[in-house]
Symmetry: C2
Subunit: 333 residues, 2 copies
């Protein structure tokens, strides 16, 4: 075999329309010959993440440049070094990092981290890669949780939200998760140990909040947006913190939904802070060190929704909008 398959982005998605095959070109590329200091990774699994909608969009004000049209679609993945001219990456090493929608990846090592924990590839991508790093950075470094506080997390059965809630439980917080199906509600309460779940499709969202957040809300980890946003802010305690990590409900809207009035920001002296991982890639080793004990102690359960084959990534992205994915979306190559 001298060629491999890659998928390039060739058109930008239109707000409100599903992702479809016309946005991409599936191409064959020659497997490259290694230069000095280079190594070749065979990618085994790659991750699908909501951040991809930002990467595909033309908005130049986003936190990292969009994928250029004609370039391979950006993604993180795990793989194995199969050939190496690099002193620190040996054949057989397992690595993770940004490799894109392709079967092989030529690297000089920049941005790739070696995997040293004895966990399967699926777990690495579902916990140690972007989801776990994002959850750890957002919860601890932005949210600054304190034992005994009440945390609410939206997208609570999602890849980031499920880890946020479990980390917060391990830290001694009361944790309420917001989800979109009863099955997910059941999973986060009965499998992950959340204190309560609220289905955002409920007719009585505010009543649900009143029932479960009896002492108000100190920490709000936002992954989704939607009408529950203002109701949650209305129930926040003085000096509450909002960690704004994702707004999946708004990514396909041309005009974003307004946010909560700032009246409560004054009255309750709230802090609302946004963050994205690319600002913190240099902190990945410290974040991994923070997260590893929780994972190795079995406190972070996860489930993966595995799609088969590189091209399944394209339609796979639409599962974020329908909410039909059951667990972290990953693609097996």
């Amino acid at each position: 075999m001298t060629t491999y398959t890659a998928i390039n982005l060739i058109k930008r998605p239109i707000a409100g329309e599903p992702i479809n095959a016309e946005l991409f070109a599936v191409v064959q590329k020659d497997i490259p010959t290694l230069g000095e200091g280079e190594f070749l990774v065979k990618q085994n699994y790659m991750s699908l993440d909501p951040a991809m909608f930002g990467w595909m969009s033309p908005d130049t004000n986003s936190y990292i440049p969009p994928v250029a049209l004609g370039d391979v679609m950006r993604s993180s993945g795990v793989g194995e070094v199969i050939e190496s001219n690099h002193p620190e990456f040996k054949v057989g090493d397992r690595v993770m990092g940004i490799m894109g929608w392709q079967e092989y990846f030529l690297s000089k090592g920049q941005g790739l981290n070696k995997i040293t924990v004895p966990l399967p590839d699926e777990t690495i991508l579902s916990v140690f890669a972007l989801p776990g790093l994002t959850a750890t950075q957002g919860l601890f470094n932005v949210g600054k949780p304190k034992k005994g506080e009440t945390l609410i997390v939206t997208g609570a059965a999602g890849s980031v939200g499920s880890i946020v809630g479990q980390l917060a439980k391990a830290e001694g917080l009361k944790v309420i998760g917001v989800v979109g199906t009863d099955e997910k509600a059941d999973w986060i309460v009965n499998e992950l140990g959340f204190d309560a779940a609220i289905n955002y499709k409920s007719d009585d969202l505010d009543g649900q909040l009143a029932k479960h957040a009896v002492d108000g809300i100190d920490l709000y980890f936002e992954n989704t947006g939607g009408p529950i946003q203002s109701l949650i802010v209305d129930r926040m305690n003085a000096h509450g913190r909002v960690v704004v990590c994702g707004l999946i409900a708004d990514y396909d809207k041309e005009v974003p939904t307004p946010g909560p009035s700032w009246i409560n920001v004054i009255k309750r002296r709230l802090t609302i802070q946004g963050f994205t991982m690319p600002d913190h890639f240099h902190e990945v080793p410290a974040l991994l060190e923070k997260m590893t004990p929780y994972v190795m102690a079995g406190k972070i359960k996860h489930r993966s929704h595995v799609l088969e084959g590189l091209e399944s990534a394209i339609n796979g992205l639409n599962l974020f909008f329908t909410g039909e994915n059951k667990g972290k979306l990953i693609v097996k190559l």
Copy 2:
């Protein structure tokens, strides 16, 4: 003279209706006899502040308890000690602090600060009291300004906004002020030295922002709310900070206006933080120390809008909604 006049709050204001005399009772009280450790202050000037709308409202979620019905209306003022059984407050000492809508105030010293700078009472109330403390806390401790950054402040001719802008200019920032009249625009640019002024009643707010904030906005000090809010957030730079200090445009609304979408909070990694001074009263000495050099160096100009007589306070509050006040509203007793 054995009695003095005080004004009690007896009804709560109705959202959307002007403040009127029926909300208050003007009463005569006996001048009290001093107990051990007490002293009597004759109040000379008292301050009218937008925070008063919060203090009058029934909302129990506000940052300090509302004024109880039947109690004297809350306000800060300056006065002179005229009788004392207190070791640290002597007859003739000038003091400032929360004394309420009344001619005399009996104190044990708690919450009152001695005035040691040789400045007139009007200047003390317009700069050193709540407005200057609020501006100093919000700009430096919440906003963390850096030389060369662009700051925008709403309510820029107001008591807090005018000081925020002048402090920021003294720190080497580019300062844009948002005001509601051309006269105020002229004052902040030509008298206070702001770099630019925008009248929020302009037809082309976004064009005005584009013209004056050519490098985007790093720091947004919010005193008013209103439709310019979302336009400003749309022009904020990465890692921008929003200091939410006041929302005068919303204080008389039953349903507060929605805020900006949190999409930019993620994309630009913004921090939106509310604060109110009662959380920081213990820091007043440090704040005065920070502010004093700017004032004594003549860098903080101000103008006062003086109303005559205790009862003028009642209608005076409505000037906040009409924007007709020219400078810091104070009442001469």
